[in-house]
Symmetry: C2
Subunit: 198 residues, 2 copies
DNA sequence: CGGGTCGGCTAATGCCATTAGCTTAATGGC
DNA sequence: GCCATTAAGCTAATGGCATTAGCCGACCCG
């Protein structure tokens, strides 16, 4: 008898991933575990396996979510602007996302073992993010091989800055803002006469 | 009776850390475990605790080793050169280290919880690495606040590039070389007229 | 010779991921 | 309306791993 009212947690893949992403942001991506996700829902750990294949799959799912969110934000920021304006908006969107969602962002960084099928959607999502960067750079008149190089340089700088900031590798927040703006501005100048760079 | 000839593994903190670093390079920093280190030495896991305090401490020790090695390499590369020459040498040394020792490098990136006493030596070692970067930038006549900004930008770019490369985020190796050189060259141009940047 | 420390060990604990197999509620076909 | 199927929870069991406690032999120093 009874045991009624199981409160039917009503899990779903989406809800599980969302909770995992929140946990990653709060406690760090490395600290993410099925046990913690289960605790959030008041559910036994094995129940989660009805919705995700493994802890690794859950991590990959969080990474995919993050790449999509980040791409979306970048796109919104860059739309309707060009050159300096677009570059600053793009860069600020990027940094903003990493600051708001450090755990999710950390997930995107995880090295992909070559041939890992679980990472494939993520790679495709990353291509889309790259397209946004390309669009901004084309606004500077950069094309061809130089476009690839410039995109890599820009992504490296944003990525590196975000990570070092997240790792506490810098100092006072005010100072960090200034350094970030300086970096983006220098990039703008660099891109203005990139044409002959290679 | 017997059990003679224990082959006396002769562990030491240094040897344990060295083995851990090698393992991290081969299988990835995340895959590092006390169990694997113990297996390398043919020793029971708890024996390791006579030499390191915990897995976390071992990770921190690997990070410290890596920062020191990297700093040393950067210093050697930059000595006796200036400006463009120094910049390229520094950047190549950085990338070279990350390629040779991806696991060790990953260790250096781990976020430091503020107030973590275990991370303190690492932070001091990082300061030393920063000094090398400063030295190169001073060669461009950059000083004061701009020096801090420029150093952060440069470090971000190298760090970001290295990580994205390690994560397989780019494509063909030949192309990646070219992109890296292009980035460093662009940086050189940027630094040449950095003075008024902020 | 005798005590102490050093560097191994075994045993035990507890957390976590994962698998197997059970149960119950909803669903859909006849 | 009833049965079969499936979906979504559960408990139990397994095995890897980090960590702690406490034993024990070898070597060093008096």
């Amino acid at each position: 008898m009874s045991q009624v009212a199981r409160t039917a947690p009503g899990l779903s893949r989406e809800r599980v991933v969302e909770a995992a992403a929140r946990l990653a942001d709060e406690e760090g991506f490395d600290a993410l575990s099925l046990a913690k996700v289960a605790r959030v829902f008041g559910v036994a750990v094995p129940s989660l396996y009805k919705h995700v294949e493994s802890l690794d799959a859950l991590r990959a799912e969080v990474a995919l979510l993050a790449v999509r969110e980040l791409t979306d934000r970048m796109r919104r920021a860059a739309v309707g602007r060009s050159r300096r304006e677009a570059l600053h908006a793009l860069a600020r969107a990027y940094r903003g996302y990493v600051r708001e969602h450090p755990g999710r962002y950390a997930a995107t960084v995880r090295a992909v073992r070559p041939g890992d099928p679980m990472a494939e959607p993520r790679l495709r999502a990353l291509d889309e993010a790259l397209e946004v960067v390309y669009a901004v750079l084309r606004g500077y008149g950069i094309e061809g091989e130089g476009l690839v190089d410039a995109a890599r340089a820009l992504r490296s700088a944003m990525h590196g800055f975000a990570l070092l900031e997240a790792a506490g590798g810098f100092g006072m927040p005010r100072e960090v803002d200034r350094s970030f703006e300086a970096m983006v501005q220098a990039f703008d100048a660099m891109l203005e006469r990139w044409s002959g760079a290679p």
